[in-house]
Symmetry: C2
């Protein structure tokens, strides 16, 4: 189905510490959309840098502000530890390229229990069960190179947008697998929450939907295997939309969630 | 009902620029919970500093990381403009006291239309209509001084927690008014999204629920009058809870929303 060489997330998000709190990395040309690296992929690299700078090993929360898109190629990351607490630390991380700031994100780090069980839940959106095999693979046509790297599949009821017929729901359900069956971890979950096309594609076909702010929470360590995703738009007002994303692992456990505010231009009503 | 002198939000959140990007302010002793300034109130001050540092006049998004609580008294704020774009700017702001960092927040600023109408919505939680007069005023007993400043009222079906009987819903509905009928604006909406007690109070009576990360989106300019609020918990796992907050103005328009991740210790099941 794909001819592009596949590279694991661990490989393309690798960072090298060159001095305390300073790192170099390479934005991979294949993990891109229209030639620009995916925002969640970049957030994963920042999360790696934050984690290496802190005494706590897991990302619990990340809030990202996208300033300018880097090109594929060398990038630079610097971190600043804001606070080191007993159960949580806060670290700010910035990515730049040729001295232009690209992304700034602040992380809350802590320790995710190896084997926790949800203590209470109510109102988590539940898209209902649907099998990975029943979803439609989406490949890297139209310049979305990253879709030849990962295994992204969309629920058949939600995939009409790709044929020019949005179903009006503002919802995208599906599955995501990493290359070569690679397992998810808290870092690659930062990519997962931003891996799907804009949920607004199922409202109207629009141009670019640029992210203004993205906040992700990692809720539990993911089990091996692909993850099930619900990505949904909530309100479009004043040319901005908020979208929520929920990620369940193969045990059907909510492992990550995110919210983002993005710009959008709907065509004016006729 | 209250004897404490009431001070407007505009007064208690006033900041004075002492040099470009540097401000002084006073954390008010009455806008506190257990002697500590409310986190949304502090975020409002940071939003004011960010707005004064940018070319765009309205906060669209704010993500806050709470590092240590300041005491009532003099505080210092510094801002750094991360990017100035055509339709949006990003500004990072930090609050400190006696050189201890207290709160760091990053803001997306832009321009909210004077008269926009929602273009699409689906799935915004809708708590149904309920009148301000039918809700129960909550006053500043038990050290929550701020509740003698603002007019916070809880839906009668949700207020049992204050008498030791949580209803199990994880939901708090109610209304919020500022002192002396002061109108809301994008800055005071940053307080509104963090004004309610933890929604987990309607699950179990617990100790302090410290915010790890809070992200707020301002969606529209609010109409004059009090705001209606829905504050709800979604999932408690591994001693952390995510809570969402939705704020509607007197026209019944969603004007702000927020999500936060907080620490929580439920008693182990008996």
């Amino acid at each position: 189905m794909t001819t592009a060489k596949r590279t694991t997330f661990a490989d393309v998000s690798r960072i090298d510490e060159i001095s305390p709190g300073a790192f170099t990395a390479e934005a991979d040309p294949e993990w891109t959309i229209g030639g620009k690296p995916n925002g969640g992929y970049l957030l994963g690299m920042l999360g790696r840098a934050a984690t290496q700078s802190a005494t706590h090993q897991h990302v619990l929360a990340a809030s990202a502000h996208y300033l300018s898109s880097p090109k594929p190629g060398p990038i630079h990351l610097v971190t600043e530890v804001l606070r080191t607490g007993r159960s949580a630390s806060q670290v700010r991380a910035r990515m730049s390229q040729d001295e232009n700031p690209c992304v700034e994100a602040t992380f809350t780090l802590g320790t995710l229990a190896q084997d926790s069980t949800p203590q209470w839940t109510d109102g988590t959106p539940e898209p209902g069960p649907f099998a990975q095999d029943d979803c439609e693979p989406v490949n890297g046509a139209r310049g979305v190179a990253i879709l030849d790297q990962v295994d992204l599949r969309i629920h058949p009821d939600d995939s009409g947008f790709s044929r020019g017929t949005p179903n009006g729901s503002g919802v995208l359900r599906g599955w995501l697998g990493l290359p070569d069956g690679e397992h998810f971890d808290p870092i690659s979950l930062l990519y997962a929450v931003d891996s799907f096309p804009p949920a607004t594609m199922n409202i109207a076909i629009t141009g670019w939907v640029p992210t203004l702010e993205l906040t992700a929470y990692v809720r539990a360590l993911p089990a091996p295997g692909p993850v099930r995703i619900l990505h949904k738009a909530q309100l479009i007002d004043d040319n901005r939309v908020d979208e929520s994303c929920f990620v369940w692992d193969s045990r059907d456990r909510l492992v990550a969630q995110a919210t983002q505010l993005a710009g959008i231009r709907l065509n004016p009503p006729e």
